[in-house]
Amino acid sequence: MSNINGKVYAMNVITPMRPWKTLILRALFFLLWNLKPLQQDLINLSFIEFARWVIIPRDAFPRLARAQREEVLRYDYLLFFSNFNGTWNQYIDAFSAVLSRGLNLIWRWSEKFPGSVPVTPFKDYIARVQFDTDYYYTAYPNATANDLKSAHIVQSAYDALAARAQTLTPAEFATAYANFVLTVQTHLGETGEAPVAC
């Protein structure tokens, strides 16, 4: 078991919800999905590579054979999977500090959710409803979400320069190269192993 691979942490959370509250949460997710400005805080938390919420209605757990006993549940369940850079505490602290209103809107429909502020009961709650990852794979273990975004900016600028480098005079190339350096100079962070506290 490891929740970590390279620079990314896999978090799994499951919380119970009364079925009538699920309808409200679905409507909220619909709004969040369709009104992109509402996602800005999530985008601004630039250490999240991927995240998803999945609502499982109480009668929708897959049943693939008659021999498999049917689930009899009172609650629907909200699953949350996140792939983020940094430590668990940094992540929850940032969630609480930056996304508290949004998180409250999403999780307030779950049983016993204490609110994301103050952070101590919020951390207690997340620790209680989290379950560990058995296997975790990432195609780019040494890169963070910001590394990826920066790499694509470098790639675009590099492609543009490389496409015309052959046809420019040396003087023109020098100017284009200087502009290229100005464009990429803040996106050259080195990827590599994450620092590990011993």
């Binding site: 995240a51 998803r52 999945v54 689930e71 668990w88 016993k112 794979y137």
Partner: protein, 215 residues
């Protein structure tokens, strides 16, 4: 469509695990034992089959009781959760997975109810889709690039960083435009000839830790 964000697809599967009191060890433990030894770097089955950005496999033992006054309840089955962030089309992804790493898939999912095996990709895809849950909300930080594009970009970023470091300051190769252009063209030709980095490569060695949630 919530399963999609731009070019990426968020796959969520819940496969019920066999509940056989005669099995020793139990099927969920056999899955966990296999996953504990499965490589997470270049030799990972998800690195060998194309298209996976990040993926996880988790045994969900039960739902979690959060305390009074909520009701305590339990699942009748344990479930294997498969969460994957992938390029392109789901059917193509699953079919390629079945064709590329059938032994690993069989070793994991043969402990699940109704699993048909990976030798028949059509049956395999149908089974996996019968376990699929629709994602309610999906977020991907970079959702307009495929995995090969991201791997290439990281490679380029690394190479460009080195090139710029070698061509800064007042040395002749930095200040002579013709020399700088020649160096850049040679660099571009060399970079274009380099193979794409392998998915999962350069994963640092990290012994398995069992330090709990806050590790």
């Amino acid at each position: 469509m919530p399963n999609r964000s731009g070019q990426l697809y968020g796959l969520t599967l819940l496969s019920p695990i066999l509940d056989d009191p005669r099995a020793t060890p139990s099927h969920d433990l056999q899955i966990r034992a296999y996953l504990a030894k499965l490589p997470t770097g270049e030799a990972s089955p998800f690195a060998l089959a194309p298209g996976t950005h990040l993926a996880r496999l988790v045994v969900l033992d039960d739902v979690i009781y959060v305390g009074m006054p909520s009701c305590e309840e339990h699942l009748k089955s344990k479930y294997l959760v498969f969460e994957s962030n992938l390029d392109g089309d789901l059917d193509d992804y699953l079919t390629t997975l079945a064709r590329t790493v059938p032994a690993d898939l069989d070793a994991i999912w043969s402990h699940c109810v109704g699993y048909p095996g990976a030798t028949d990709p059509v049956a395999f895809v149908a089974y996996m889709k019968s376990c699929q849950l629709d994602t309610t909300f999906y977020f991907a930080a970079v959702n307009d690039r495929t995995l090969p594009q991201s791997l290439r970009a990281l490679q380029t970023q690394h190479a460009v960083t080195r090139f710029l470091a070698d061509h800064q300051g007042l040395s002749k190769r930095s200040t002579d435009p013709a020399r700088l252009q020649a160096d850049f063209l040679a660099f571009a030709a060399k970079l274009a000839a380099e193979p794409l980095p392998r998915p999962g490569s350069s994963a640092p060695y990290r012994p398995i830790k069992t330090g709990g949630h806050n590790e």
